[in-house]
Amino acid sequence: MVGAAKMLLDVPAIKADFPILQRSVRGKPIVYLDSTATSQKPRQVIDATADFYSRYNANVHRAIYELGEEATRAYEGARENVAAFIRAKSANEIVFTKSTTEALNLVAYGWGIKGPLREGDEIVGTVMEHHSNHVPWHFVRDHKGVVLKYVGVTDDGRLRIDEYDGLITKRTKLVTVAHVSNVLGTINPVKEIAKRAHEVGAICVVDAAQSVPHMPVDVQDIGCDFLAFSGHKMLGPTGIGILYGRSEVLEAMEPLLGGGEMIREVHLGSSAWADVPAKFEGGTPNIAGAIGLGAAVDYLGVLGMDAVREHEVDMTRYAIERLATVPGLRLFGPDDVRARGGVASFTLEAAHPHDIASILDVEGICIRSGHHCAQPLMDRFEVSATARASFYVYNDPADVDRLVDGLNRVREVFA
């Protein structure tokens, strides 16, 4: 059992910041174990968003009046916040998108389809990617005739790192990998992978949707060229995503959206684009979303990302221990809690993941079931679906206890 003294986060105080965690579901106090899909939002984030609409709503970068200046200051302030949070060299390396998916598609289009790739060039991905880090590269292959290759996964849910030896060649132009698997929780050695990519002159694209919310991430230390993540998985609003790009590659990349905000000048039949990052932010951006994200970064900053990570290690250790007591439960991913994030995917012999989730729902427990947008990984493990519980700053061991009680209830129903 994880002792309260050992926990680095004051979970009761944190829980009190989240209005939704005060409600009950189906007559029971809510146990929210689906932060990998989306996190809940603290009052500070909700207030920051409402405050923008209530007090200084205006479009950014254009209005001369005071409201517009305040809005622009807050929007650009959020960019500075995010840059510092992932240790980017400059806020100009932070592009706001609507999601991780859009960020990855922007790279696939701007660097892949419109960029320097030629037929026969190779892109190296992995079997454990989310669909959003598979499908954009399918687009690139279909447009450019590049070859897609994939690093496999071991039985305990780790990348077969030695396969990079054969897969990364002088034809490799881009290497992409999830920092943390959304199904297995596996933390991948992205720094080493970026180094391998650079050795052959390829760029490295990291899907950090499941890492930035949960652990300290330093883009300069990783050395990747692009890194994508989402606001809504890190206590921020939906509809705001982030593409970090190393300034040299960002400068050279083509935009995806043409329109307002992203231009220097436009004439009939021609246009010149604005500097980065504005070049990639065509159209009125999600101003409230960015401001809410800035507040989320502040919130996480106060907790401290080292403490967030340690809390999740404790939670995961306790969860693995307790889940092992449930007969017929198969847990996926590495055994070593240091090698994984706060994600526990499992199957039960007795019941299908959908049925597990339905019965837990009756108990007020929110977990995920399905393929988690990672069908190639499901195929790898020869399952059609898994159940997944995931942990964040507002979860405590009592949530795991309720989960385990619920799973035993599932076994009774299907006995």
Binding site: R26, G27, A351, H352, P353, H354, D355, S358, I359, V362, E363, S369, G370, H371, Q375, M378, S384, A385, V413, F414
Partner: protein, 131 residues
């Protein structure tokens, strides 16, 4: 609320644990296969339709949750020995009725998966999910 576990009634669990008409059907004249894109579950149905347009035999295979497999089991029971026209007249509401349990929008897709497969096998347009 009534029972917390009202969707996992004995009837549903019985069809899930002891599915009727489950297995490969050799010599099927009609076949259909669909997956639920939300979860990747997949059901296949094979039918033997005789000269009088009657479904002489039907079997299903696949994997899925209790709702989708119980639904497939009950549906195949229902159409066996019926004509194609009778099978075609089975719609969403009929499935909801013979399952006899409350279904959320997401679980409705599980419940209707086998009906979609049957309709595909018979060359009929898919059934809408809406209420």
């Amino acid at each position: 609320m009534a029972s917390a576990y009202e969707i996992y009634q004995e009837k549903i669990l019985d069809h899930y644990k002891h599915p009727r008409n489950k297995g490969e059907l050799e010599g099927a004249s009609h076949r259909g296969k669909e997956s639920n894109p939300l979860c990747g579950d997949e059901i296949s149905i094979g039918l033997v339709v005789d000269g009088a347009d009657r479904i002489a035999d039907v079997r299903f295979t696949g994997q899925g949750c209790a709702i989708s497999l119980a639904s497939a089991s009950m549906l195949t029971e229902r159409v066996k020995g019926r004509t194609i026209d009778e099978a075609a007249s089975i719609r969403r509401d009929d499935v909801v009725e013979f399952l006899g349990i409350p279904l959320s929008a997401v679980r409705m897709k599980c419940a209707l998966l086998s009906l979609q497969v049957l309709r595909r096998a018979l060359g009929l347009p898919p059934e809408g999910h809406g209420s």
